[in-house]
Symmetry: C2
């Protein structure tokens, strides 16, 4: 895949630079919507707009849904009324749910007006669930039968177009309540007059539409089927969660965790407009600046010492940086543990003990190494002693904060992946500088 896409990316950009229209591929006919989406995301804004004009109109909706929000909106903002008209001519409920937040209200209304009644009902049901709930994203293409149907009814249903990921068909009672699932393979060998209710797959559990996306993914993966039924709080069959949705959600969760560590959003566009991108990143830099000034203030307490022993100023980054790295190792392990659900009230103490032991061992080891190097560099055993002690103190503090900061943040419902590392670095910087310069003041001045 990547080979093919990267050629397309290169061609589109060169074309945009040279303005030589003949160097272009004919169209994106041979690409999947997901591939076209990736291609568009990889292009600067002008080239992206040109590339859009080569997307076949029937793929508009699929390509936009496959794009990350911000890149998608960069295109939508530029759409003329004809393109919007083509886009809204035949949307299903799931697609409109995905795109609605990126579209002007009047365009959503037009799309809704053009939907058939069934899709409009689906849309309204989905839209009644919040953004982080499973109910919002269910897929409405279902193999459903009344619960008193027989095997021959199921066989008739199977002759029609069967949606992908169909291992089961779902049964509902007269009021639409879900009564159970029948594995399609059970139909083979069953007598045609046999009631389907005798073939229920007892192991298959329905998912509640009120589940958060994270919990829904966990239950889905545990169930080991290609799709699960999703029911409302009253037990009505709302739709299904298929493998495709599960993959999308898993990718989004991880991407947002990865991007959060740098204060970014998972929807950040590679080629976001400079002003927008600067604004967003400015906030993160501003938060960091406050913590950096805190570290400076800590150093400022020891101005007199620094004036007398300039070696301390030279070695400061070593103390801060060793603490920061040791802390971020613990922090990363704990953040993963929290995400997996490995960390509970009862195992925090043993974890703390283990991390403090690891920190203690490494603290002593590197304190010796750094102490010797510093002693030789500045020809002073006292300097070596001071930095060695500061390193031990700071790596121990790093282990402690690496465990406690993410656990506390989680309790306070703040994402530890987002703010954990900023807070940790503040602690290791301040502790490191105060320990190092404080010991320096006591022993060297």
């Amino acid at each position: 895949m990547s080979e093919e896409i990267s050629q397309h990316i290169d061609q589109m950009i060169r074309h945009d630079e040279d303005e030589s229209p003949d160097s272009l591929p004919d169209s994106f006919d041979e690409l999947e919507p997901e591939q076209i989406a990736l291609l568009l995301e990889s292009l600067p804004l002008d080239a992206r707009r040109h590339a859009w004009s080569r997307v076949p109109a029937e793929l508009y909706a699929d390509v936009l849904v496959a794009m990350r929000t911000e890149a998608r909106e960069s295109l939508l903002r530029q759409f003329d009324s004809q393109t919007l008209d083509q886009l809204t001519s035949d949307l299903d409920a799931e697609t409109l749910i995905e795109l609605a937040d990126s579209l002007p209200d009047e365009v959503v209304d037009i799309a809704l007006a053009r939907m058939d009644d069934r899709q409009r009902t689906h849309y309204e049901q989905s839209a009644s669930y919040a953004e982080d709930l499973l109910g919002r994203y269910v897929d409405h293409e279902l193999l459903v039968l009344p619960h008193n149907s027989r095997v021959r009814d199921a066989e008739r249903l199977m002759r029609r177009k069967v949606p992908e990921y169909s291992e089961h068909l779902w049964l509902v009672d007269r009021t639409g309540r879900y009564t159970g699932a029948v594995a399609i393979n059970r139909l083979f060998g069953a007598a045609s007059h046999q009631p389907l209710a005798e073939l229920y797959d007892e192991e298959l559990e329905a998912l509640s539409a009120e589940l958060t996306l994270k919990d829904a993914c966990e239950q889905f993966e545990m169930a080991e089927v290609a799709a699960l039924p999703v029911i409302t709080s009253e037990g009505r069959l709302l739709g299904r969660m298929s493998q495709r949705l599960a993959f999308e959600l898993v990718h989004e969760q991880y991407e947002s965790q990865l991007m959060a560590s740098a204060g970014l959003d998972e929807d950040e566009d590679l080629f976001a407009p400079v002003m927008r991108s600067s604004q967003r990143r400015a906030t993160w830099l501003g938060i960091n600046l406050l913590t950096a000034f805190l570290a400076s203030w800590a150093i400022g307490l020891f101005e007199a010492t620094l004036q007398q022993v300039v070696a301390l100023a030279v070695l400061m980054p070593v103390v801060a940086s060793m603490g920061g790295i040791a802390g971020s190792q613990t922090l990363t392990l704990i953040i993963r543990g929290l995400a997996l659900g490995q960390i509970t009230t009862a195992n925090i103490m043993p974890l703390l003990k283990k991390e403090l032991s690891v920190g203690g061992l490494n603290g002593v080891l590197w304190a010796l190494v750094i102490g010797v190097v510093a002693s030789l560099w500045f020809d002073s055993v006292a300097i070596g002693l001071v930095i060695g002690m500061a390193i031990v103190i700071n790596i121990a503090a790093a282990a402690l904060s690496g465990v406690l900061i993410p656990v506390l943040l989680e309790r306070l419902k703040i994402d530890p992946a987002l703010s954990g590392s900023v807070i940790l670095t503040t602690v290791t910087d301040v502790v490191g500088f105060v320990a190092f310069l404080g010991l320096g003041t006591l022993l060297l001045v």
Copy 2:
């Protein structure tokens, strides 16, 4: 899920601390192997060993396979010959492939000897593929028929036990070469004497066993089916890649990227023995120490200046830290882009331009803020001027390195998620200190 598991974790740990056997749940009967695996991973080593004794023997293999390597090996090392005997009594090829690296050679030999011929052949085929290739991990539970079979043969096959994730059955010729797939739902309504070859699903493509796991996952998700056939380089049907494998691989890839950012391995055990864990982390701390000394050396060049203007020492962390944060934002965006395949030769220049513009804007903005604060703090406009210029230079350098470092590492086949941030921080530290102290020497001394 997490609620239930975390109660179990708490109970096991409290039990281990109080040694009151009556406080324990009866057994883990109601838990899935994946849940037991998570529970075991969440326990300190002693409690983990006690908890293992409550795992039903028939789940041994499944639980061990579901565990991360290091935690699994912490248990395997303690197994007595009876447990090993139970474990190896009925392993299939896929399970043994997963466990083989964690087992002593003689135990693998025993397990192989106890396998039936079919499983042993599967094992040998899988073991002939390297660790990062799809062929090693294929699932051998397949619905297969000779390519000249008819619909009635397929119907007969379907009456037997059908493996999960079965939307298709696969056809092979006399030599075992894969000839195509038939969607199971196509069997409904087809005449029983119709040749299956007339019902081939033309859209379904087989995966090559030689694919890397990453490429295999991409192709699998694009195909949107619950399982795909996997073929050898000669076209023989080796097995299938199912959704379960795809999920496992996706989780592993992300986890390893997340852990790599702190120099950790995705198999790192939450409760790894202190010595082992310390050793591993020591390497990463050592690498970081070298870069920290590089920064110190850069500062050391300006000792005379620092002695005269101690305010420079106080403000140093602000310059380094703003560069580090700005750089890590760019770096994170680029690392994601590389992982997704969004970044090619042609779009590096426009990306660099965009990131430099964002960096330039934020550089100027924060240079003004920091400049004013520093001027007021130290009552010197010159100090404000020096730090302002240093901030602009360092944030620009950060943008440049945030793009170029990961791209270069990728070219050199070094994982940018692992070493990108260490190298970046070194650059922003050194550039920041040299710019700040250099300008200070020119303008303040």
